[in-house]
Symmetry: C2
Subunit: 460 residues, 2 copies
C-alpha cells in the first residue's frame, strides 16, 4: 500500500503534462485524502488550483486538511473567495484552527472572512486557549443529547445533525450545559427498546479534561481508557468540546519527537527535517552545544590540576576516554529509562528511594562485570599483545576500580536528576545523555585521579 501513492503520483504527473484532466479526476476520486495530499506536494504551485478544482467538494476539503501548510497557503492564494468559502464550509472547526495557526495574517483574514459567522466565532474562541492545551486541539462540534430523550429520538437527532460532527460514535448527554453522561452509538443501536430514555442507558463514569489540560496528558488518558473522544470541560464543569483519537495520535507523535530532540540536546522544532534549513537546524542545536562546551571547562580544570600526576604516569591518559564514555553510557541508560517511565506515568517522585536502590544494585552488577572484563582486556591486549610496559598491574587495578565506582555514581546521577527535574517543574527530558555525560565526565576524572594518587607510588 505504501508504494501505491508513489506510482500513481508518477502517472498523474504524466497525465497532468498531457492535460488529461478527466482521467486525472477519475483516478483521484478513488484515492484517499492523505495520498492525494502527497500527490499535491509533488506538483508545481501554479498547477495546484487546477488540480484542486477537479476534486469533488468534500474530497477537496479532506485533502486540503492533509496538505503541508506552505501548499495550503499557495492554494488559498490561488483560488477564488467563493471556492475558499466552499472549502471552509466542509472543514471541522479543529482542522480550520490548525490551518489558521500556520497562515500569515493576510491569509487568515481571508479565511475568516469566508467562514460562516458561527465557525468564525468558534475559531476565535479556540485560538484563545494556550498552545498545547486541550482547548487548543479540541473541536466544538459534537453530538449533544438530553437525559430524558428516548433512544429513538437520539438516533433521529444523530441522523439529522450528524453530518457536521467529527465523530458521532460517542454522544454527550448534557443537562443545562453540564455533562452528565456519555452514550455510544453502539449502545444506542444495541438498546433492546427504542422507547428507553437516554439516562437509563448512559455511562455516568465520566472521564473529562479541562480546557487547560496539557495535550500530552489528554493523549495519555485517551490511550489509558481506550477512548475515541474525550470531553473537554471549562472551570465550571460545563462542556465546551471534545478531542478526537486522530488528534491524540498526532499529539503522541509530536510529543515523542519533542522528547527525543530535547534528550539529544536540541530545542524542539515544529518543522520536519527536510523542511528545516541549515540555519534553522543551527539555531535549534547551538544553545546546548555551547552550554555543554563551556561546562566542559570543569573537566579541563580537573585535568590541569592533576597535570603533574599525568606527566609522571602518561599511561593514565590513555584510559580517560574509556572511563568517561563508559560512565556516560551507564548514566544515559539510567536517565533515559527513568525519563521514559516518568512520561508514561509509571514513576512518581515518591518512588525516588526505590529507584536509587534499584539503580545501585544494577550498577554494582554492571560495575563488577565491566571491571573484571576491563582488567582482562588490559592484561591481554595492552600488556601481552601490545607490550606496553607502562601499564602495570597496579595501573590496571586503578582503572578497573575507577570504572566500578564511576558506573555506580553515573547510575545514581542518571536516575535521580530526571526525577528531581520533574519535581522542580522542569522537563525531565533535559536530563538525558548530553547533560548527564558532562556531569559524569567530571565525576569520573575526580574518582580516577583520587584513586590513582592514593594507590600509585610516586604520584602523591
Amino acid at each position: 500500500m505504501a508504494d501505491h501513492s508513489v506510482t500513481v503520483e508518477n502517472t498523474l504527473q504524466v497525465l497532468l503534462s498531457e492535460k488529461k484532466y478527466t482521467t486525472i479526476r477519475d483516478i483521484m476520486v478513488t484515492m484517499n485524502p492523505a495520498d492525494i495530499a502527497a500527490v499535491f506536494s509533488g506538483v508545481e504551485t501554479e498547477k495546484l488550483p487546477l488540480l484542486f478544482r477537479l476534486l469533488p467538494k468534500e474530497l477537496a476539503a479532506e485533502s486540503f486538511v492533509e496538505m503541508e501548510s506552505d501548499q495550503q497557503e499557495a492554494l488559498i492564494r490561488g483560488i477564488s473567495d467563493s471556492e475558499l468559502r466552499q472549502v471552509m464550509d466542509e472543514l471541522y472547526v479543529d482542522d480550520a484552527v490548525d490551518i489558521v495557526e500556520e497562515m500569515p495574517a493576510n491569509v487568515v483574514q481571508r479565511i475568516l472572512a469566508q467562514s460562516d459567522p458561527e465557525m468564525r466565532k468558534e475559531i476565535n474562541e479556540i485560538l484563545q486557549y494556550p498552545e498545547n492545551s486541550a482547548g487548543s486541539v479540541m473541536t466544538t462540534e459534537y453530538v449533544k443529547l438530553s437525559p430524558n430523550m428516548t433512544v429513538g429520538d437520539a438516533i433521529l437527532r444523530i441522523r439529522r445533525t450528524g453530518v457536521d460532527k467529527e465523530t458521532i460514535y460517542t454522544c454527550y448527554v448534557l443537562d443545562n450545559r453540564l455533562l452528565v453522561g456519555t452514550v455510544s452509538v453502539k449502545s444506542l443501536l444495541l438498546a433492546p427498546n427504542d422507547l428507553q430514555t437516554i439516562d437509563s442507558i448512559m455511562d455516568t463514569s465520566l472521564i473529562t479534561v479541562t480546557t487547560h489540560t496539557d495535550q500530552e496528558e489528554v493523549a495519555q488518558m485517551m490511550s489509558k481508557y481506550n477512548l475515541l473522544a474525550i470531553p473537554v470541560v471549562d472551570g465550571d464543569n460545563r462542556m465546551v468540546g471534545i478531542v478526537t483519537f486522530d488528534d491524540a495520535m498526532d499529539v503522541m507523535e509530536d510529543e515523542v519527537t519533542e522528547d527525543m530532540e530535547i534528550m539529544a540536546g536540541m530545542t524542539p522544532s515544529d518543522k520536519t527535517y527536510l523542511k528545516s534549513s541549515p540555519v534553522d537546524l543551527f539555531k535549534h542545536r547551538i544553545p546546548w552545544l555551547a552550554l555543554l562546551m563551556v561546562s566542559a571547562t570543569f573537566t579541563g580544570l580537573i585535568i590541569t590540576s592533576f597535570e603533574e600526576a599525568l606527566a609522571a604516569q602518561v599511561a593514565l591518559t590513555a584510559f580517560i576516554p574509556m572511563l568517561m564514555d563508559t560512565g556516560g553510557n551507564s548514566g544515559s541508560q539510567s536517565s533515559v529509562t527513568v525519563i521514559r517511565a516518568i512520561s508514561l506515568n509509571e514513576l512518581d517522585f515518591s518512588d525516588l528511594p526505590k529507584v536509587i536502590w534499584k539503580e545501585i544494585r544494577t550498577a554494582a552488577l554492571c560495575g563488577i562485570c565491566l571491571a573484571v572484563l576491563c582488567f582482562c582486556k588490559i592484561m591481554l591486549v595492552d600488556r601481552l599483545l601490545l607490550q606496553n610496559e607502562d601499564i602495570t598491574v597496579l595501573v590496571a587495578a586503578v582503572v578497573c576500580l575507577t570504572m566500578a565506582i564511576t558506573i555506580i555514581c553515573a547510575k545514581i546521577v542518571g536516575c535521580s536528576l530526571p526525577m528531581l527535574a520533574k519535581k522542580l517543574g522542569f522537563d525531565p527530558a533535559v536530563m538525558a545523555s548530553p547533560f548527564i555525560t558532562t556531569i559524569v565526565d567530571a565525576l569520573s576524572l575526580l574518582v580516577y585521579f583520587g584513586i590513582a594518587c592514593a594507590l600509585l607510588p610516586g604520584l602523591r
Copy 2:
C-alpha cells in the same frame, strides 16, 4: 481526574478491611475498568477473587483485560472454572490472545479449556502469526456485510450481531471472503434512504495491511489515514481480521519506548521499570556497555601512540574531554534527528546526499560559532583568569580548529550511519549517541593530534 483513582483506592482498602462488600460493589460499578485494575494492583493476591466476584460480569471482564499479567495469573488461579468461563465469554479475541501470551503453560491450558470452541480456534490461529505482526495484534471479530444488502438490513444485522464485536463503527463489505469496501456506521445512519444497497454507499478506496505487516507500520498507517480500525488480509487478499485504534495507540507507545531504549544503548525490555529486577536491568544494559568499553581500546591506542606529544605539551590533555564531548553531542544531535525522521517515514535512503549536504552546512555554522566561542573562553578563562602559561595562542588555535573539524566529521557520521543501517536492514536506532560517541571520540583524537603535530613546534 488523575487523582480520582488514588483517593478511591484508599477508601476501598479501608472498606475491604472492614468487610463492607456492598459498599465496595456500589463504588466499583461507577468506576472505569482501567481505574478498577489500578485498585486491584494494590490489593493482596488472596483478596483478588473476592473483590473480582463483586463486579458485574461485563465490568469484571473489562477490568480483567486492564490488569497486570501477574495479577491476571493470580486471579485465574483463584477463581473457579465456571467463573473463568464467564470471563472468557466476555473477552474479545485479541485481548484473550494478549493474556494467553503472558501466562505459563498450565494456566493457558485452563484458559483454552474454558473458552468456547470458536474462540479457542481463533486464539490458536492468531498465536501462529509472528510476534509484532498485524496478525498477532488483530481481532477476528468484526461486522461483515454483503454488497447487495440494503442499508436497513445492514443496520438490523449490526443490532443483532454487534454486541460481540470490538468495533461496529467500521463495517467490512465482503464478496466471497474478498474485501471489496468499507462502510461506516455514520454513513449507514446518515444514508437518506434505507433501501439503498451497501455497494452504492461503500468506500472502495481500501487501505489494508497483511497479516505479516509489522505492527509499527500498522500503527503509522492508522495514524496517517485517521482510521478507527484497519482491515488485515491474507496473501490471497481474503479478509482475516482488523486492528483497532486502541491497540495501535498501545503499539505506538511500546515502539517509542523500544526506540528510546535502543538509542540509549540498551536491549529493549517488555517489563515496566518498577517490575524489572536489578538482574533484569543488568542483562539489558551490560551487552552494549561491554561492547562500547572494548571499542574504546582504539581511542586508548590513539592516545598511547601520541604519548610523547602529550608529554611534551601536557596542556593538550586538558582539552581532550571537551573536544570529545562536543563532538559526541554534535553527532548525537544529527543521528537522533535522522533516526526520528526515518521512523516517521520522512526520510528515505535516496535522500542521503541531500541530508549530508544539509548537515555539512549546519555543522559549518555550529563549528565556526563554537570555535570562536571556545577561543574566547580559552583566552579569557584559561589564560587571563587562571593564568595558565602553558596555553599559548597557538595551543588555543589548535583546539579551536580541531573543534570545528570534529563537529563537521561528527555530523556527517551522525546523519549517515542511521540511514546506512536502515538500508542494510538494521534498526537505525542502534546508531544513536553511544555508538556515534565512540566513533567520534576516535575521530576527534586523530584530528586533534594530527593538527597539533602539524602546527605546534617541537611535537613533530
